[in-house]
Amino acid sequence: MPPQVRALLGLLVASTLSAQTPAPTTPPPPPPVRFTGYVQVRETYRDEVGFNASINRARLSAYGTVAKDVTWRIQGELRTGSVGTGKASVALQDSPPSPTSRPPTGLRWWIRSRPSGTSASWWITPSAASRP
């Protein structure tokens, strides 16, 4: 094979391989605000009361990053004041505020810093710190 043809074939193969290799990509940055939370739906049967259905607890959190070691979070929580006190019914207590109702329970916020494994945070109401 003439040297010119061999060089041309080599260039073609190299070009093909280069086209098949995906170019390195940079992972997209996380969105500035992310959301998390959970919903608990409960059905209860009690002696002398009967069945009761409720949304026992619902929690929605928004969080993000301010700087490398500083994050923020704001959280709202809806929960029943009591469970099983009525006949079969569905209720979402402390639902979104109206002129005659309270705002969602457990609203809290904090900023967290993690230099060298330590952290500090604060929030404004004693919201339950239960593990879902």
Partner: protein, 171 residues
């Protein structure tokens, strides 16, 4: 409220609240509820904690707790009490709870609790036994639970039963 974590070994928390309940901004009696809690992990699977809550010159609440988690089994318990200024006998109570994962996605639960306010009335003596099972799907994002609770209130009191089923979805 402020909390401070010392690595993964210990945490300290201190808070001041108006004591009127969640989302109540008014403080009608101008008295603050001070809350503190400290935890320490002497070894990786054991956590010990102590807490207090002081509500002005009215009352002080206190408690100690312990939790052990090892090889799919977990045990936790707490003793708590409340002392009222001028009172002679504190409210007190305790609970103990054990859980065990028989499968990675199936967890059995057993709990015993006992609370009493003897200075007010033995009719408030409240004790209960709970047995249940938790089932998890989707890497824990979906959890179904069923609990049977047998509760006795008062002395001698009457015993009533309760069945709780719950579905939880995390996102």
């Amino acid at each position: 409220m402020v909390d401070y974590a010392i690595g993964s070994v210990s945490t300290l928390m201190l808070g001041a609240f108006n004591g009127e309940g969640q989302n109540v901004t008014a403080n009608t009696d101008s008295t603050l509820l001070w809350v503190g809690r400290a935890t320490v992990r002497p070894i990786a699977f054991v956590t010990l904690g102590a807490n207090f809550a002081s509500y002005g010159s009215d009352s002080t609440r206190y408690g100690v707790d312990a939790a052990v988690e090892y090889m799919g089994a977990a045990f936790e318990g707490e003793y708590l009490g409340q002392h009222r200024d001028g009172g002679t006998m504190d409210d007190n109570g305790w609970y103990a709870q054990g859980t065990y994962r028989v499968l990675p996605w199936v967890q059995l639960v057993l709990k015993q609790e006992d609370f009493r306010r003897s200075e007010i009335s033995e009719a408030l003596h409240n004790r209960a036994t709970t047995g249940g099972v938790n089932v998890e799907f989707g890497g824990g994002k979906v959890r179904l639970l069923a609990d049977y609770v047998s509760r006795k209130i008062g002395t001698p009191g009457t015993r009533k039963s309760q069945l709780i089923t719950q579905a939880q979805v995390k996102f």
